[in-house]
């Protein structure tokens, strides 16, 4: 069965990038930072492509919220296979207050017809894990989070979720929201053909309002340095000393 799908993506610093900030800053220095599509959003993109391919038709539209720099993120998604893209252009920056982000996204989604909206389970920068279920709640739609794979049936989507102690299978009535974690969907590489074709795909820029953040970063810090560790020794001879240290010094045995 075919259907149109929306994938919401976020532009985040590459995981390998060293993040820095100036003293007193509440945001990182973006200079020299390489930005990517958030890794979990890649799972959502691939899931959307496979679903529309299996159905034979259906369009994948990718949406992001941010400044002009996020156009690059949308182009990556178009090159990988999305059919259309929308930038919800906001003044100022997207903050850690996921509910503000969710409200802006929900306002756009309310005007659209796509029965399935996909998100990555969380963004690779803030790690808040909240925007997907918030959008679903604001729209009054069912939502399954941390989904590793799903199948669309007539009027429903059947999802496998990774939960403590096992795998849960849930069925949601469409329209629905699903957030993806790592599972069956590794994003394909964009082909040269895809990259060329992306230039002709519709990319819409719409101005949007982002509500003021009610959760504010007061200060950034580097994590406390771990106390200097030590090499207890080499090979099997070091084991008794390790066990002694774990018992008497670290008090963890």
């Amino acid at each position: 069965m075919s259907l149109d799908i929306i994938v919401c993506v976020k532009r985040v610093p590459d995981t390998e990038t060293r993040v820095r900030f100036s003293d007193g800053a509440r945001m990182i220095d973006s200079e020299g930072v390489k930005y990517i599509v958030s890794p979990y959003d890649e799972f959502a993109l691939e899931a959307a492509f496979r679903t529309t391919e299996a159905g034979g038709e259906g369009k994948v539209t990718v949406i992001t919220l941010g400044g002009e720099e996020s156009l690059e993120t949308l182009r990556v998604a178009l090159a990988a296979g999305a059919d259309a893209a929308v930038l919800l252009r906001v003044r100022g920056s997207v903050t850690m207050d996921g509910l503000a982000t969710a409200k802006t996204l929900a306002a756009e989604l309310k005007t659209r017809e796509e029965p399935l909206v996909l998100f990555g389970v969380k963004a690779g920068d803030d790690d808040q894990q909240q925007v997907g279920p918030m959008v679903a709640t604001l729209l009054g739609r069912p939502c399954a989070s941390s989904v590793t794979s799903f199948e669309v049936h007539e009027g429903t989507v059947r999802c496998e979720r990774e939960v403590e102690g096992g795998t849960e299978v849930v069925e949601l009535d469409l329209p629905a929201v699903v957030t993806l974690t790592k599972g069956a969907f590794e994003l394909r590489y964009a082909s040269l053909k895809g990259i060329m074709a992306a230039k002709r795909k519709p990319l819409e820029v719409k101005d949007a309002d982002l509500p003021e953040a009610r959760l504010t970063v007061e200060r950034l810090d580097y994590p406390p340095e771990r106390a200097e560790g030590r090499i207890v020794g080499e090979g099997v001879e070091a084991v008794p000393e390790l066990v002694r240290l774990l018992r008497d010094e670290a008090n963890v045995l």
């Binding site: 509910l99 849930v170 959760l215």
Partner: protein
């Protein structure tokens, strides 16, 4: 004002130990705010039986909603009932555990009560009458100190990052009749259990993780032996390379695109320590690394390291720890 609500998670009708930690934090924060801590327990028949015991950890009031519809975890229903409780009282903060269930419910509740949410917080305190928290961002590469501009604030707490602190006391149990939404569009149709009795890696107090240095799925018995020697509460973990190779399931993956953990004791066996892995385990209390490469990045975060062949070191470590535990 100043009251704090702790959402006490239950499983199969029993209050989970992670709830004790959430109630402990709620009590500490409520004291700082000049209010009191309440706990909320939802579930099927009989779930309230031991609810009063949350008083041990500082809950003055334990609100209990017993209802057949709450027995299985349908998030739409649970979120609606929690939101109703939150709205019924002037809470300054609502605390969840950042477990799979908590991370799924907290954003829904936050959206229903129109409150901001800080997830996976590792520190929470009252400073100058205000609630402030610390949460790791960028995969733990930075820590953000955050302030809440409105009340209530919704917060989920990283399991094991705080600890539970009990003293003999009993909470006043207040049963209520939850209003169950009529129209529910989510149905739980199946549950497939992981290995019986296995502890989930995100909640374990001790984790034994294996990496590529284990050379193949067939060698995992060595890690299982160490896990068994370490006793209950110990879980197996894995690096991304191991999961990508299909040696272990994704549910055991620690690190970015896997689980974030903060156990009391973390063994990294044959794990080099890529930045994606460190993101998921660097807040562990004590880290032990065993690796044949003395330059492996894992040694830079390890408290104790052994440079050596994991196939020689592991059996000896297992027998030494088993002997120690047998001594009691």
């Amino acid at each position: 004002m100043g009251d704090v609500l702790a959402i006490a998670e239950q499983k199969d009708g029993k209050i989970r130990s992670v709830a004790n930690e959430v109630v402990t934090v709620a009590a500490a924060v409520a004291e700082g705010l000049g209010g009191s801590a309440h706990a909320l327990v939802l579930g099927g028949d009989g779930v309230g039986e031991h609810a009063g015991e949350l008083g041990t950890f500082g809950a003055e009031v334990v609100r209990v909603g017993e209802e057949a519809a709450l027995e299985s975890h349908v998030p739409e229903i649970h979120a609606a009932v929690i939101a109703e409780v939150v709205a019924s009282h002037d809470y300054t903060a609502v605390l969840f555990a950042a477990t799979a269930v908590g991370k799924d419910l907290a954003p829904r509740v936050a959206a229903l009560v129109d409150a901001p949410l800080a997830s996976d917080v590792t520190h929470l305190e009252v400073n100058g009458g205000r609630l402030v928290g610390i949460r790791p961002i960028y995969g733990g590469k930075l820590m953000a100190r955050i302030g809440f501009e409105t009340s209530p604030a919704v917060v989920s707490l990283r399991p094991n990052a705080f600890g539970a602190d009990g003293s003999p006391a009993s909470g006043r149990v207040e049963p209520f009749t939850p209003a169950i939404p009529d129209e529910v569009r989510t149905r739980v149709v199946d549950f497939r259990s992981a290995e019986a009795g296995a502890v989930d890696v995100s909640e374990a107090t001790v984790i034994v993780s294996g990496g590529r240095g284990m050379r193949g799925a067939e060698n995992w018995g060595l890690l299982e032996d160490l896990r068994n020697a370490l006793g209950p509460g110990t879980a197996l973990g894995a690096s991304r390379a191991v999961v990508d190779a299909g040696w272990r399931p994704h549910s055991e993956q620690v690190g970015q695109t896997g689980k974030t953990v903060a156990p009391r004791l973390y063994f990294a066996v044959g794990i080099s320590g890529a930045v994606q892995h460190l993101a998921g385990m660097r807040t562990s209390q004590t880290i032990v690394a065993i690796n044949k490469d003395p330059d492996a990045p894992i040694f830079s975060v390890a408290d104790y390291g052994i440079v050596g062949d994991v196939f020689e070191v592991l059996p000896r470590l297992t027998s030494e720890i088993a002997a120690l535990r047998a001594e009691g």
